[in-house]
């Protein structure tokens, strides 16, 4: 079976969870003898021997570069030496045309497209090859807009594509409900396929040893301080302003608490400013974006990991945290809350309750230990292979349909 997989990013050139989820899903699908060609909008080297990776270039473009994350602008270098920068909307259209050229040249059995940026390209490929189109929804526009309507152009693309797709995969029941609510898609067209976690990635990083790069925090912890961490993009969707408001209440009651905010994003400066305005600048540390060992160390230095997301279609970070040995507090408005039970949960808007739970967690090691032991048990049962089984089954249903 040959699958044309349309994605926007893959690690290590990812800005968030989307790239990781795509990578892991494909890795597990490949074990089932599924032949994947993964199309990306930029040219970079990736370590993914289990599938073919193709950069979808516009005609005449020799190389396509992203300036940092996959959601920023793109630079095209053409064969005649010309260079051109393009924003994400322009890039989305360029991607569609490039994918259309590929689809015209090659045979595929299924088109599988991840999130709105690739949906138009997915529709084109379906039309050209006359094969089933599976849309994989990792988030809808309203999630990314932090509960507001978001960009009407993006909503239009999402709505049209979902109506025309053969099947929709949602990363959680929460996301399925959002699709039904926002776009009136029939429920039975949508299959929930929860994301999971790759234990080998965790293990590899754990094998790097106990030494932690946060010397200052290690030192302060030995003197009775506790660290509460958040790791992720600093965007409205992630609910970090609520976390900082809760932090103010926590620091008032447990002054030896340090909040570690690790990540980058458009709210970076706003959050720095807010921590100062709340009078807790001394207790909030901003590390910027980390990857690899220091990313691991951010989880491992923490006594509690908090994911306060306003809207989190899935939310892999709590699973990573548990893998690295740190118990979690997560918002109820997250997909991962549907499959993770040994965790503290709170409504994202309930700042006082968030503070209450953080204070308990930093004060009581017994609570942290119990949460962590139970959560590790849950984690050990999770696997991307389960997700791949479901996806494989969906492919099968539609291929039979097409054959008939």
């Amino acid at each position: 079976m040959k699958v044309l997989m349309l994605g926007w990013e893959l690690p290590p050139h990812n800005s968030g969870g989307l790239g990781v989820a795509c990578y892991q899903l494909c890795k597990s699908l490949a074990k089932k003898d599924i032949d994947i060609e993964f199309i990306l909008p930029y040219s970079e080297a990736h370590d993914a021997p289990f599938m073919a990776i193709t950069a979808a270039h516009p005609q005449g473009a020799k190389i396509v570069l992203t300036d940092s994350g996959a959601y920023d602008s793109y630079k095209y270098v053409f064969e005649d030496g010309r260079e051109e920068w393009m924003d994400i909307y322009g890039q989305q259209q360029v991607f569609e045309h490039a994918v259309a050229r590929l689809a015209a040249e090659r045979e595929y059995d299924v088109v599988h497209a991840h999130d709105w940026l690739t949906f138009r390209a997915g529709l084109r490929a379906k039309q050209i090859r006359n094969v089933p189109l599976i849309l994989h929804v990792h988030s809808v526009e309203r999630d990314r807009a932090g509960g507001k309507d978001g960009n009407p152009l993006v909503r239009e693309i999402e709505e049209t594509s979902m109506l025309m797709a053969d099947r929709i995969l949602a990363v959680s029941q929460l996301t399925k409900d959002a699709i039904v609510r926002d776009y009136a898609i029939p429920e039975d067209k949508i299959e929930v396929v929860h994301n999971s976690i790759d234990h080998s990635v965790i293990k590899e990083l754990l094998d790097l040893g106990q030494e932690n790069a946060y010397h200052y925090l290690t030192h302060m912890k030995a003197r009775g301080y506790r660290v509460v961490a958040n790791i992720g993009r600093l965007t409205v969707q992630k609910g970090l302003t609520n976390l900082l408001h809760a932090a103010k209440e926590v620091v008032a009651r447990a002054p030896k608490t340090i909040f570690l905010i690790s990540g980058s994003g458009e709210q970076y400066y706003e959050l720095i400013n807010l921590s100062a305005e709340l009078g807790i600048a001394k207790n909030v540390i901003f590390t910027g974006f980390q990857r690899g060992k220091t990313w691991r160390d951010s989880y491992m230095i923490a006594d509690l990991f908090v994911m306060p997301s306003v809207s989190e279609p899935f939310g892999i970070t709590p699973l990573e945290s548990i893998g690295f040995g740190t118990p979690t507090l997560i918002s109820k408005q997250s997909g991962v809350a549907e499959i993770l039970h040994s965790t503290l949960k709170v409504d994202f808007w309930d700042v006082n309750e968030m503070a209450n739970k953080i204070v308990s967690a930093v004060k009581y090691p017994e609570l942290r230990r119990e949460l962590q032991i139970d959560a590790e048990r849950e984690l050990s049962r999770m696997s991307w292979d389960h997700a791949a089984d479901k996806v494989h089954a969906v492919y099968g249903q539609h291929l039979q349909g097409a054959a008939a």
Binding site: Y214, H215, R223, Y269, I272, A281, I285, G288
Partner: protein, 402 residues
């Protein structure tokens, strides 16, 4: 009636904090040691400023002092720039010593670390003033008689302090709401003081040189020494024109190409051509003229921005948090008797650090951005707070803080 130009130049460079990350905290204590090519490299900046400003300007000032026995000026030089000159630009330091050796350059007192300690820790403030006095005595053989606070930040309390400390004069901004109908071109006395005199900056004339000189869309451009002298001579009742500005105006803020050096060189010739004109140092003008009125300044006035207050340094929450956090460590730091730790703490008090965190005009990319070695105010804040955390770490290692 005689009229004097009181030229006062302020020389200062901070120890900038390098891109100091949370992973440095607890490991490296070298906040001020960027690699040479980095934007925050103090060594590179001192080399650049010495070459573009200090050395060429001092060469001209020395020529002027030799050529015109009537030419005189005053200067303040912070301890932090003196140290950097000693370490990285001894030639430039020597050129300052040569100027002072003429006997016609007066050094003005201030805090060694160019800090805002007066508003946060009076004892520490006095210590820094004493350190500066000692340094000036050591390098220049002079004991300053007239005081200026960092950023010309002035209020009645400061004048009261300086009076009690025995200074004969103090400098402040000649800000219109304070002066009201009065002119800055006279000697004044602060309210509630016994002896001290107040010299107020004529900001219009000073800014003609410091800010507008090279601006070709300014209606008075190009400004010549002749035209400038004519304005002063023509300006009615006055005894002294207080031209206060950053030393780096010459060659750094106003580049060589603007003709700023020609202006400077011709100023004595053109000014002294006229009857009853002279140059005086800050002490001389205080000795020469009686105060014409008392000036009341209950609120702090500085020489910066259109607000003339401390908002460029303390106006946002980041600035307020950072400076309060630093001064909170004061007792613990001083109790260690660890010279290196105390010195690092003092270097972190330099007002420039807080200026880099200013967000007032950040979006306009104006003067604040021009003087900052950081990409934006937030990066400045992060580097500073990480250094603060390392100070915390060092204190707690000594058992001084938990």
């Amino acid at each position: 009636m005689s009229k004097a130009i009181v030229l006062y130049l302020h020389v200062h460079q901070p120890y900038r904090v390098r891109h100091y990350s949370i992973f440095d905290a607890g490991v490296n204590h070298d906040y001020f040691e960027a690699t040479y090519d980095d934007q925050t490299s103090n060594e590179r900046i001192i080399h650049k400023v010495a070459e573009k400003s200090y050395i060429p300007t001092n060469k001209r000032l020395l020529d002027m002092l030799e050529k015109h026995p009537e030419f005189k000026l005053s200067m303040s030089i912070t301890g932090t720039v003196l140290e950097q000159l000693e370490q990285w630009a001894p030639e430039a330091l020597q050129s300052f010593k040569d100027l002072v050796a003429t006997g016609r350059v007066e050094i003005v007192a201030e805090t060694y670390h160019h800090s805002l300690a007066f508003f946060y820790n009076r004892e520490e403030f006095e210590k820094q003033v004493a350190m500066h006095r000692d340094k000036v005595q050591e390098l220049f053989g002079q004991t300053p008689q007239v005081f200026r606070n960092t950023e010309l930040a002035y209020n009645n309390d400061l004048a009261f302090w300086a009076d009690k400390a025995g200074y004969k004069g103090i400098l402040a901004e000649g800000w219109d709401p304070v002066l009201d109908w009065r002119s800055p071109n006279f000697v004044y006395q602060p309210t509630y003081t016994d002896n001290i005199r107040l010299l107020m900056k004529n900001y219009k004339l000073s800014d003609d040189i410091a800010f507008r000189f090279g601006n070709q869309s300014w209606t008075e451009w190009p400004l010549t020494a002749d035209k400038f002298s004519h304005w002063l001579n023509d300006s009615g009742d006055a005894t002294n024109f207080n031209l206060f500005m950053d030393y780096e105006t010459f060659g750094e803020h106003q580049w060589h190409e603007t003709g700023i050096f020609d202006f400077l060189e011709h100023l004595p010739t053109e000014w002294l051509k006229r009857d009853g004109t002279s140059f005086m140092t800050v002490s001389e003008v205080i000795d020469a003229f009686e105060p014409v009125d008392r000036v009341d300044m209950p609120h702090t006035v500085t020489w910066a921005d259109t607000e003339r207050d401390l908002s460029a340094w303390l106006g946002n929450a980041m600035q307020g948090s950072a400076i309060a956090a630093l001064y909170d460590l004061g007792d613990a730091v001083l109790a260690t008797n660890d010279w290196k730790l105390i010195e690092d703490w003092r270097r972190l008090q330099t007002s420039d650090h807080f200026y880099y965190m200013c967000t007032k005009y950040f979006n306009d990319g104006d003067i604040h951005a021009y003087f900052s070695p950081y990409d934006n105010p937030y990066d400045a804040f992060i580097a500073y707070m990480n250094a603060y955390h390392d100070m915390q770490f060092r204190l707690s290692e000594k058992g001084a803080l938990v």
